[in-house]
Symmetry: D2
Subunit: 452 residues, 4 copies
């Protein structure tokens, strides 16, 4: 072993179930979830992770596993990892934890992933009103590249990153989360602009003992019950980082995470081989198992030094990060615009979400003219390295959002041309994404964790 | 003259007022505004433009001109330009007009610009609740670079672009605009999420004869009155392009604009030496006079071929574009995150506008720790080549937006460090932006166009 | 005028001959050539320049002007410009002159250029043994882009730069140059490896009163005679910078030039709209008239501080520079290799010049398979933004050089493919470069400067 | 196993010696070296490789292993690999073999490398006249980054690549190589320009049975003797690719190799974590063991279709390649120039090798002013991702070469400044490279392969 070989601190055995790993995983945020490993600053260590569903979605020819996925189990995370400095003193609340992503990738022997949309009644997605059915595409990796039998004609290098990376919240921060998210869940409908189009999506993902996995804390104990009912779901990103789904957190990037509990308790998971800005289809990256090689540093007192609370308490902060030097390089981009006027022609006021939705829909329809099904285009824009920008946010009443697609990922020239060859369905019978029909009447969900 | 010297089709004489140019300008969108010039496809032509205010804001040491700016006069545009093909056949409704930006820049002899925020009662900006006063910074250009005496310590290459470029709407499209924008103006308050923070900003910018300039159409005539009362304001971007404020529309880019009237009637203005995604301070780019060297092509029937209506009529389309090959290159970025929780700690549902606001506020507070006033940081983030991304838009309840700042624009290392030298006010008496006080009691606005 | 408008210190009137400009030009390096202008540090100033031949080569349909070009007149330079600091103290020997290229471009009204090869008996080029005839292609500019009627199928953005920028040598440095170059001229043949292939090219370009232009110094005077007979030719780059032909000296770059005489005496010329590494055809860039907007700074004592003499005297130094941030961006490159084995199959020992020659020849033959004539390919590789690398220089006996071509400059996909459509002559009668026949028997050269 | 998991076709066991691997290695080029594996087109396969010396140079605190390295053993290659198409038909002479590098990296558990210079009497290097002693620096990897205890103050991402990748020569091509290289060895001295400075370096590396390893062919047999005495050394790159040391052959790149024997017989080795253009110190990359994940395609008849013989026979061709999309991205470069005047002040005629030598020496002296020893700078420029360009090759008598260094790899700002803080020896006792003294009197070399 070279002295610089990363120390494996969280191993994953792919032949075992997510809930049977030697170091137990967890899928909630809570200060009392016990660390499974300890690292010191400046050592490079390796963390392995299952995919976000813990293997429920398979490399097969059906989208049924997506249709009936139990979302209460997400995301299976590796950790928490306690971080101490060279003298053994742990990271303390108020510090900044610097996490450098030295390397990452799929787990050896498991070089594949999937992109999917959920059924409208089971999670949905950004465009669930247009695409109510569960769909799935499988991606195979060839080193840095991915291709999908279900979306022929594209191949691209991954901008690989962890969808989830974060520190444990303190009890106080956890309370803040639960209160504000309960509020939106209870009072949401009358105040929400997006309510019509998104009515069937949950407004928040509140704590739920169902599907809960809490690491070393044994299910069935009183402690488990208490924690399970207050631990935060991992679905939204928050002050601790978490499910930020920031596609640029790739090789060589550095994340500066606030520390809320002693030891920082760093967790990670939801590895993405590639993702577009927004991850629009929800299960929208190329989801996979994977590994991270990390190196930590501690900036003592760094929260006060570098972060400013943006709300009523000193805990209302957000992480910052630096982008790494080896992102895929594209020089030609085709860009789609969207303004905050919805599909019914209704004007919204400076709403970047509506504008981005429009830009994505424009891009889907455009790609459809080149022979892709709309479902293929939706999944593709969700997982390829496209960029979603807030281009204008002040020119009332229209927000302006843009979606930029690198043209090099296609095996045809997709730019508009004066002498365009008509495409239509390019091949009479092309492969398409795997689909389920939508009947608005979901069967009883199977919870794989219930079998544990 | 080399055969490839661009033909000057719209000249600007900077010694004359905006309303006294030899070819009259206009500041509204309407199908009946008469073309001032004609170009044919494949010729490179030059269009000169005043700054968006027509010279009202000056290179002086006061923000008073910003405070009392009459927004009804914006934006002074050059054109319309009628586009015909080599055989003299004009662009027709349903075609796509391809506009290549071969070159652009400030007008010779006028190499300066300004960035400003408006008073809360007179336009405001994205963060008007935090920055209610009018402020201004002057920028001087040194070739590709800009620097400001009011924001010392930064210098950066411009990603120069036109804030406004668009085709004339048809009467039918104009009606659609006026109806939907009236609706949001009338019914806006009870349905808007952002209402608390933005209550004093106009919800829409509806047609207004005040300040209206209509090119060759003589003020005072019956025709002028009729058009002035129905012509669309140029403030929001729309189906025809217009004020898209897309910072990447720079040298070498191509815009594909839908054609709604015979000849396309292309207009442009609002030149920006540089702008950040979002142009957050509203008057937020480095605003300047300038020139465009353009080359047009026509894709016959291209609207149907390449664009898909995204609303009730075939006119509900959006332009697309390709990014050019000579954008400033930065390799190191510091990135700030924002989630859809507002400053009061209140949770919003997947709201990218709130998330982006939070990311910008985080960045402002961060830069403040390095010796910049918050006003300096606000103006800087509005006009420097920073990137605003919609990173996550599906993980309920939090949208995740990011703001990436190129670190090379600063003369100090702004990355977090374990051994940070305390900054505080780096110099006891540093220059700051030019400011006006806010009293919520605006005097009567002077309308420069009223003097014409 | 904005305070940041560049001050025009050397104007060019294109309607006048090169030798009739209001501020006289020069085409030799000598300490006694008098400055024509003075600038101070931190001011942005504008220098205008004729093309390197002073207008001898024209935008016409013949290569005759190239065939009979009098090389003794090259290069017409603007300057010298004396540089002083804010207190009026001039740059002094031993200082470093920092020259920032804030902006540059073709002269307005003169937006065209040419690329050429010389006749084997009159200058030749890197591949003169393969291409003995004079050829020429005209390029027209469309903003950042150039295209040539003689080389259809390519269009690319320019990486515009001055071929020549340098300070005046001291008398001592001038002596060093003249001695060492005389030596190679006299003793060259028996020691040169390249002698077979390059035998007809001059081994050095020694001082010559013929064609000499010395700025304010009047022709015919004794002073003129003396200086003309010892002033260095501008063809090779040397310790003072000079004709470095470094294609990356573009917008935003900074050159650190050693100062050998009081005031630095900065001169520039030989503007290139674009050039490939090596400028292989000799008159190989897209040659044009143009302007530079420059800003100077002085590092007092900087030669000793930053440069190390690499020879017997403290004057044996070389400039250094920083690359600017707005070079054209290409993501896909096709790369050709060359090793130090020549066309006869003979092995050379670690000779990067032979290896690069081979790489260029490989690329020419390759492009020929896609329908370009070899002359077109030769001129194209000389002037497009291709990169010439010394990839391996230690693996005896073969040096390895590579030539990388950006694929985006072609209107066809030039990558190798399993299912290639045969090309042959793509169009039976395509345009080609303008050619002269080679008869090894040059007529008497006309010297335009003799008419002055 | 995912269906896209690369198939391991050549395994390396790092616990075994280079000559004891289960699939035997080889260190010569010869058509009769038998394939050790077979792959078909479109499958992704994995090749593992020892470092070029087969483990002779160790992660220790002495340069003695470098000083006494037996160069006759280089390079240990994995392969040959026979390539067949989907129907089992092998690649045939005249085809082009397309090799895509899907992924690569160090071998797990062996994440370190070394950079070294050889003793002047034992291989030397590009600057052996300035640096006659053996030196060594150890590099440790942290994911994409490398750092060296012997060269503190730098850390950079690797542009990882195979130094050697090539197909087997035919008997005819082998004869061509041996003839031309014998010729330069025998007749070299009187014709070489570089002879003074490089006199002790071998002019060619001719066939030698000493140290020879021939895969499955048993040492001691008559066949072995015959082949060993005519097989080509792997040191120079040639028509078959081979030791090209092209630093851009990294992830995602594609090499188009000519096929000279049935099955192509692809071999690879000499993995480099990083290397600068030129690999100037000879053992100049960050040398390591490693793996390649490759995918092959065959272009039938591609040699004739795409390559042009550049010499007397159809075999005088060179490979071409495409650069991949994930190279490290740097935006700021400091560039050093060199002209073809040597250190004695003597003028050479358009000699790019001399010019590049000068550029490298300039850069070394420059970095020395920032606290690095000259040996540290030499090794650093040899292995960091710097770019070596042939900038001008036509302006007699000076060739102009440039060396561009990315400034971001240093922990200090190395750009020239008016207010530079003097550096001198920054720390009184800094670490330095590992050194051996040079006495021109080498002991008897130990040949590790002799023990097999």
């Amino acid at each position: 072993m070279a002295p610089s070989t990363p120390r494996l601190v969280v191993p994953i055995d792919l032949k075992k179930k997510a809930w049977d790993q030697s170091l137990p995983l967890h899928n909630r945020w809570h200060p009392l979830i016990t660390p499974v490993a300890e690292v010191h600053t400046d050592e490079v260590f390796r963390v392995e992770m299952v995919d976000w569903t813990g293997g429920v979605i398979g490399d097969n020819h059906s989208a049924t596993d997506v249709q009936f996925l139990d979302l209460s189990i997400t995301h299976y995370l590796s950790g928490p990892i306690r971080v101490v400095d060279k003298d053994g003193v742990p990271a303390m609340p108020g510090d900044l934890l610097v996490v450098e992503i030295c390397n990452l990738g799929p787990l050896p022997g498991d070089e594949w992933g999937y992109t999917a949309t959920f059924d409208r009644e089971n999670g949905g997605g950004f465009l669930t009103d247009h695409f109510p059915c569960a769909t799935k595409a499988i991606w195979y990796f060839e080193g840095i590249y991915a291709y999908s039998p279900q979306i022929p004609g594209v191949r691209f290098p991954g901008l690989t990153h962890p969808g989830v990376i974060g520190t444990a919240p303190s009890a106080e921060l956890l309370n803040i989360w639960n209160e504000r998210e309960s509020h939106v869940q209870e009072n949401g409908l009358q105040t929400l602009k997006l309510c019509e189009v998104l009515h069937s999506r949950p407004l928040a993902n509140l704590p739920s003992a169902k599907g809960c996995v809490l690491g070393k804390i044994k299910e069935g104990t009183e402690e488990w019950e208490r924690i399970a009912n207050e631990a935060a779901r991992t679905i939204p990103g928050r002050e601790n980082g978490g499910n930020c789904d920031i596609k640029n957190l790739s090789r060589g990037s550095k994340v500066y995470l606030p520390v809320f509990v002693e030891g920082a308790n760093l967790s990670s998971g939801d590895m993405h081989f590639s993702q577009g800005d927004g991850e629009v289809s929800f299960c929208g990256a190329i989801e996979m198992s994977g590994f991270l090689e990390l190196k930590c540093d501690i900036i003592r007192g760094g929260m006060k030094e570098y972060l400013t609370p943006m709300g009523p308490t000193p805990l209302h902060v957000n992480p910052i990060f630096e982008i790494g030097p080896v992102e895929p390089r594209f020089s030609e981009w085709l860009v789609f615009e969207g303004i905050s006027v919805d599909e019914s022609g209704r004007q919204h006021f400076l709403d970047a979400s509506v504008a981005y939705k429009r830009a994505v829909l424009n891009a889907i329809d455009y790609l459809h003219k080149f022979g892709y099904s709309k479902e293929q285009a939706y999944l593709l824009l969700s997982c390829c390295p496209c960029e979603g920008r807030i281009s204008g946010i002040v020119d009332a009443p229209n927000a302006m959002a843009t979606l930029a697609i690198p043209t090099a990922i296609f095996d045809q020239d997709i730019r508009p041309k004066a002498s365009k060859v008509p495409v239509g369905p390019r091949v009479l019978k092309r492969p398409d994404v795997l689909k389920c029909s939508y009947d608005g009447n979901l069967p009883i969900t199977k919870n794989p964790s219930a079998t544990s």
